[in-house]
Symmetry: C2
Subunit: 165 residues, 2 copies
């Protein structure tokens, strides 16, 4: 996946965490997701369509998911609260929405999020479609933003952007 | 959710299972999904956008997921095979694609599928958005098709269709 397409997701995550969660976030070097990565207990997944088709998955260990959802809702939540999935789904929606705005040449539309809660989840994708992971770290704990994206032939790519730190 | 919107999903599931899996499928009365439903070990999730925004999740107990993916691939698969997630993701894609064709007035586009593998998953949605479940039964085992869908204001609804059995 081209840096022009991953940078909008990096800035989207930073923007959403700083503005909505008042939380500084450190995003490390993106990695190509392998199937053996099972540090996920909760995944908020949202699809998108348009000049690029794909999906974004926010993948949390349980502890980070609870801290993040609680901070978002402004009250302590457990994973069984109805607001828990709502908060994480809304975060996924905001990250995709922010990235969409940055990828405006691609005319992206965002679907509705689903939040899967379990233990040691394996979040998989078509093997033809590589998934880029952004390792994220903050006071709320670690998580990853996983992006799978296929640019539709003939769609206009955004201008190359400076890489986020 | 209106019957006009759920029937296209019923006929889509029937069409995909009969043609792609050569498997007769019985779909029982749709239900409003409650949060306590945890009979899912594998979920293939795909979003859609357009005149209606939402997502479809095929939710399988492990045994049905393995039987279905193996039948689709034409070889015995385990949940750790790369083709396992591919097969179920492709099935989700076909179900959404068939439903999209039946909902043509709504100009729907389908995103890329994600497949989540775990144990006793809770597949959640925004609490503002009800999820309709279609209980499905076949020689490959039980599963459910869960549909969350919001019609965008002003979008043209399809003509009422006769209810599928």
């Amino acid at each position: 996946m081209d840096v022009r397409f991953i940078n909008p997701f990096i800035t989207a995550v930073q923007h959403v965490f700083t503005t909505m969660l008042k939380t500084e976030i450190i995003i490390s070097k993106p990695y190509l997701k392998s199937e053996d990565d099972r540090n996920t207990d909760v995944s908020a997944i949202i699809g998108f369509t348009g000049g690029a088709v794909g999906s974004v998955a926010l993948c949390f260990p349980l502890r980070s998911a609870i801290a993040t959802a609680s901070k978002f809702a402004g009250v302590e939540l457990s994973k069984d609260d109805a607001d828990f999935a709502d908060a994480l789904g809304e975060l996924a929606n905001m990250v995709a929405g922010q990235a969409k705005a940055k990828l405006h040449g691609l005319n992206i539309s965002v679907s509705l999020p689903r939040v899967v809660v379990g233990e040691k989840l394996n979040v998989l994708n078509s093997k033809q479609q590589p998934v880029l992971g952004l390792p994220c770290d903050s006071a709320l704990g670690r998580f990853a933003v996983e992006v799978a994206m296929k640019v539709v032939q003939g769609a206009v790519a955004p201008e190359p952007a400076a890489a986020a730190s």
